[in-house]
């Protein structure tokens, strides 16, 4: 049965159904409904909801709770995500699985409470210190956000990595019909041989991001790198629409991709074939497929609700095979489908005149 859910509420419900019973968080617009939903729903399923005194406390509670092997998550919005960075780096170093949800708002600084995508660098390039990576998933509908929650927890456990759902205020606040997956049986959750569950029947274990011996720490780092390589090989996800014989390909993710889908329809009416390349994993970024597509067009236009962040990954993917123009608005201003179409026309003016 489909129900009407806000993005934030839907993500919370999907997380519970994916086996998350431990939530730590601190409210911040535009994701506070996620925290509120958890506070009401988790006690119903014998889970623990804990409102921390800050995001710094939140992330350290996540560290501790994840050590026990249980599925843990938090959610926040941009400034709160910044506050969590130190703990995120520690968790990455300790190879602790956990899911973070960042419902991005306008920045930098206090910014505003409107939707934005300007935390792309922070999520994909490591906002914290050290050589670490996080898997970053970018849903573009509420249903997709729901579907990705299961995957997020599974990937976190499988690779002992942090997974971030990078949404924006629009996805967080809008309402759409959704269908949820069944409640996962907690008895089917993966066994974790590293978890700190008491050492009465096995040797004491250790979870840490620390080693004073540089050669030992380097070995730890090499283990992380081996994991990241595996993820890059196996977990790249993307969606393509009309990329075959497109006049131009637009790269966009999240809400922005949603808007481009409307632009595609509008452009079609004017005889312009626009393709969409939508990364679902922002890390690992689908460089390889984008590189193949770059052979087929003159222009790969990146459109963002920020000023050229994903553009850098698009350029790495395209690798000089095509032009890489850019169009973006930021600070909570969302480009309209018409604006994107105008940007496309400007780029294609030469090509369009030639037909």
């Amino acid at each position: 049965m489909k129900m009407l859910f806000k993005g934030t509420e839907a993500i919370a419900e999907a997380a519970i159904r994916a086996g998350c019973r431990l939530y730590f968080g601190y409210p911040i617009t535009p994701q506070s409904e996620l925290t509120e939903y958890m506070s009401r729903r988790l006690p119903e399923v014998n889970g623990t909801f804990l409102q921390a005194e800050s995001e710094v406390a939140t992330v350290n509670m996540m560290y501790g709770a994840s050590c026990t092997g249980r599925r843990v998550m938090t959610s926040t919005s941009s400034p709160g995500f910044s506050l969590m960075m130190e703990g995120i780096s520690y968790m990455a170093g300790a190879q602790l699985p956990a899911v973070f949800v960042n419902v991005v708002r306008g920045g930098p600084g206090l910014g505003d409470i409107q939707p934005a995508q300007s935390d792309y660098f922070q999520a994909t390039k490591g906002g914290g210190h050290g050589d670490y990576r996080m898997i970053v998933l970018a849903p573009h509908t509420i249903q997709e956000a729901v579907d990705l929650m299961n995957l997020a927890f599974d990937l976190a456990d499988k690779y002992r990595m942090l997974v971030t759902i990078l949404a924006d205020g629009m996805l967080g606040q809008m309402m759409e019909p959704v269908e949820f997956h069944e409640m996962r049986d907690l008895r089917d959750m993966p066994q974790k041989e590293w978890a700190l569950t008491g050492a009465s029947d096995h040797k004491p274990r250790k979870v840490t991001s620390f080693d004073i011996d540089p050669y030992e720490l380097e070995k730890m780092n090499l283990r992380y790198q081996a994991t990241y390589k595996k993820v890059e090989e196996n977990e790249v996800r993307y969606e393509e629409i009309n990329t075959k014989d497109a006049d131009i390909i637009v790269a966009a993710y999240g809400t922005m991709a949603r808007i481009v889908k409307t632009t595609i329809r509008m452009a079609k009416e004017e005889g312009i074939k626009v393709g969409l390349f939508r990364p679902i994993t922002l890390w690992p970024f689908p460089y390889k497929r984008l590189n193949e597509l770059a052979d087929t067009v003159k222009n790969v236009l990146t459109v963002e609700m920020s000023y050229g962040q994903m553009l850098e990954d698009v350029k790495l993917g395209v690798n000089g095979k095509a032009n890489t123009p850019f169009y973006g608005r930021s600070a909570g201003v969302v480009p309209t489908p018409t604006e994107v179409l105008e940007a496309i026309k400007k780029i294609m003016v030469g090509d369009l005149n030639g037909r």
Partner: protein
């Protein structure tokens, strides 16, 4: 739907978060404008950061409806602001006024702060229910919500409104099931159902009067 039949000049929409109060308030104001040139929409939603009546201020102005909300840039502030003018519009006997109250207990609490104006006014309070929203799916949950919000807002609920929908994909069957549940809540609480809100495009008739809605709060795409 003729809103004059309610014989009131202050229409208060309350309900749980995301039950559709703002869309109903906008539609009601536009409907009332057909009967009077003095219609105001009072946005006392201190809960929602997006998709609020105030976001439609310019559009409603073109329809001859005054939107009473925090002025200028303050309307984007993440602060619970109640404008001073609100009391005046609520108690002005020359105006038809629609009040869009924020969702849940926290939204309803605001009503308590303007109790002195509400009590001196001939008002009708509607409680909006969408049975396809979380925490509002069973008779028990809905009845408890009605009682809790009535308590927090310090107001008596005069009518229930059935607003069961899942947006664009809503089926007649969804609405019918919604009417069944809201009907039972109505019997249990002894609060009548004012109407069932149905999107313009849907051809539906059921056990309650129908209020046809146009969707004003649309997505960018």
């Amino acid at each position: 739907m003729n809103f004059l039949n309610f014989e009131t000049r202050l229409f208060v929409y309350m309900g749980m978060f995301g039950s559709g109060k703002t869309e109903l308030a906008i539609n009601t104001a536009i409907e009332l404008r057909k009967h009077s040139s003095h219609v105001a929409l009072v946005d006392i939603d201190v809960i929602s950061p997006y998709f609020r009546s105030r976001d439609e201020r310019d559009f409603l102005k073109t329809k001859g409806i005054e939107v009473i909300a925090p002025p200028g840039v303050l309307s984007h502030a993440d602060l619970p602001i109640i404008t001073a003018q609100m009391g005046g519009y609520i108690s002005n006997p020359n105006y038809f006024t629609v009040a869009d109250v924020g969702g849940n207990e926290d939204g309803a609490t605001v009503l308590g702060s303007v109790k002195q104006f509400l009590d001196s006014t001939d008002k009708t309070v509607f409680f909006v229910v969408n049975t396809l929203r979380p925490f509002s799916t069973t008779i028990d949950e809905i009845a408890k919500n009605v009682q809790k919000l009535s308590e927090m807002g310090k107001v008596k609920i005069d009518y229930l409104v059935c607003n069961t929908n899942i947006g664009v994909e809503t089926s007649n069957e969804d609405i019918q099931k919604g009417e069944e549940i809201v009907g039972k809540v109505s019997e249990y609480l002894e609060i009548p159902v004012a109407f069932t809100a149905v999107k313009n495009e849907i051809n539906y008739s059921g056990k309650f009067p129908i209020f046809r809605l146009k969707r004003y709060l649309v997505n960018l795409w």
